[in-house]
C-alpha cells in the first residue's frame, strides 16, 4: 500500500472517524448498537449536574433500592458496589460517587428480562456517598450509602 495513503488512513481511523462515529451515536459494541455515551453526564463535576444530564427529575428517595458496599473501603481503587432495585419495571440504574472529581461513574439500562440488579467495582477518591438512581416506569428513585475511603483510588 502507498505509504502516504497508509498514514492518512491511520490518522483518519484513529481520530476523525471514531469521534464522528461517537458523536453521531453510531458506536457499536459487539453486534448491537450501544446507546450514545453520555458525555455531559460523565463530565459533570457535581452531582446535581450529573443528575440533570441523566434527565432525572422528581426523584423520590426509596427503601426499595439496596446499595451493598463496604462501610469502610480499604482500597479506594476497587470499591465493590452492588445495587439491587426491588422497584417493579426497573429500566435503569445509575451509580454516582458524590465526591469523585466526576461523580457519575456508570449507568446500566436493562431490557428483555434483565433484572434491576448490578454489581461492579468503582474507584472512589475519598469518603463519599454512593448514590444509586433508578428509573422505573419512567419515574426516578434514589438511595444513598456512605462509604468511608481510607486510601483514595482515583489516581496520582
Amino acid at each position: 500500500m502507498n505509504h502516504l495513503r497508509r498514514t492518512l488512513l491511520k490518522l483518519a481511523g484513529a481520530a476523525g472517524t471514531l469521534s464522528l462515529a461517537l458523536g453521531a451515536g453510531l458506536l457499536k459494541s459487539g453486534s448491537a448498537l450501544a446507546a450514545v455515551w453520555n458525555k455531559a453526564g460523565f463530565e459533570a463535576k457535581a452531582t446535581p449536574d450529573a443528575l440533570k444530564a441523566l434527565g432525572v427529575s422528581g426523584a423520590q428517595s426509596s427503601k426499595d433500592i439496596v446499595i451493598t458496599a463496604p462501610d469502610i473501603a480499604e482500597n479506594g481503587a476497587q470499591v465493590p458496589v452492588t445495587v439491587t432495585s426491588r422497584i417493579a419495571n426497573t429500566q435503569s440504574i445509575s451509580i454516582i460517587a458524590d465526591k469523585n472529581p466526576f461523580p457519575l461513574t456508570s449507568t446500566f439500562e436493562f431490557s428483555n428480562g434483565a433484572e434491576g440488579y448490578v454489581s461492579t467495582k468503582l474507584k472512589m477518591g475519598q469518603t463519599s456517598s454512593v448514590i444509586a438512581v433508578v428509573r422505573a416506569d419512567g419515574k426516578y428513585y434514589t438511595a444513598s450509602k456512605e462509604v468511608k475511603v481510607t486510601i483514595g483510588g482515583c489516581g496520582g
Binding site: A14, L18, L27, K28, S29, G30, S31, A32, A34, A35, W37, N38, F42, A77, Q78, V79, P80, T82, A97, N100, F102, L104, T105, S106, T107, F108, E109, F110, S111, N112, G113, A114, E115, Y117, V118, S119, T120, K121, L122, K123, M124, G153, C154, G155, G156
Partner: protein, 105 residues
C-alpha cells in the same frame, strides 16, 4: 489490545446470574507512570450483554470503574444452555468480547 475476559453464567432461582471479569487498565488520565508522565485516559465506555441474541444490558461507564472491571448482572427466565455474550468498547475504539452458555444451578 484486548486482554482475556472471564465469564460465568449460572442459574440461581429464576434467573441466570452472570459474572464477568474484563482485563482493561481503566486509566483515569490522572495517574503518572515510572517516568513521571501522565498515562492517558483509556477506559471502557460501553458494555453490551445479550441473551440468545437479544440485548439485556446496555451499560455506559466512566473512567471511575475499577481496573480490570468486574460486572455482575442477572437475566430472568434464562435457561441452561442459553447463550450469553458480553462485549465492550473503549474510548480508543478497542473492543473485547466473550460468550458463554448458562450452566444449571
Amino acid at each position: 489490545m484486548a486482554e482475556p475476559m472471564k465469564i460465568r453464567a449460572r442459574i440461581e432461582g429464576d434467573a441466570a446470574d452472570v459474572k464477568v471479569l474484563m482485563g482493561h487498565p481503566m486509566e483515569t488520565g490522572q495517574r503518572k507512570n515510572e517516568k513521571g508522565e501522565l498515562v492517558p485516559l483509556h477506559f471502557i465506555q460501553s458494555v453490551i450483554a445479550t441473551h440468545n441474541g437479544k440485548t439485556v444490558l446496555d451499560a455506559q461507564w466512566s473512567q471511575a470503574v475499577a481496573r480490570n472491571p468486574f460486572l455482575g448482572f442477572r437475566v430472568k427466565g434464562a435457561k441452561p444452555g442459553d447463550k450469553i455474550t458480553v462485549s465492550w468498547t473503549d474510548n480508543t475504539g478497542d473492543k473485547g468480547s466473550v460468550e458463554t452458555t448458562v450452566a444449571a444451578s
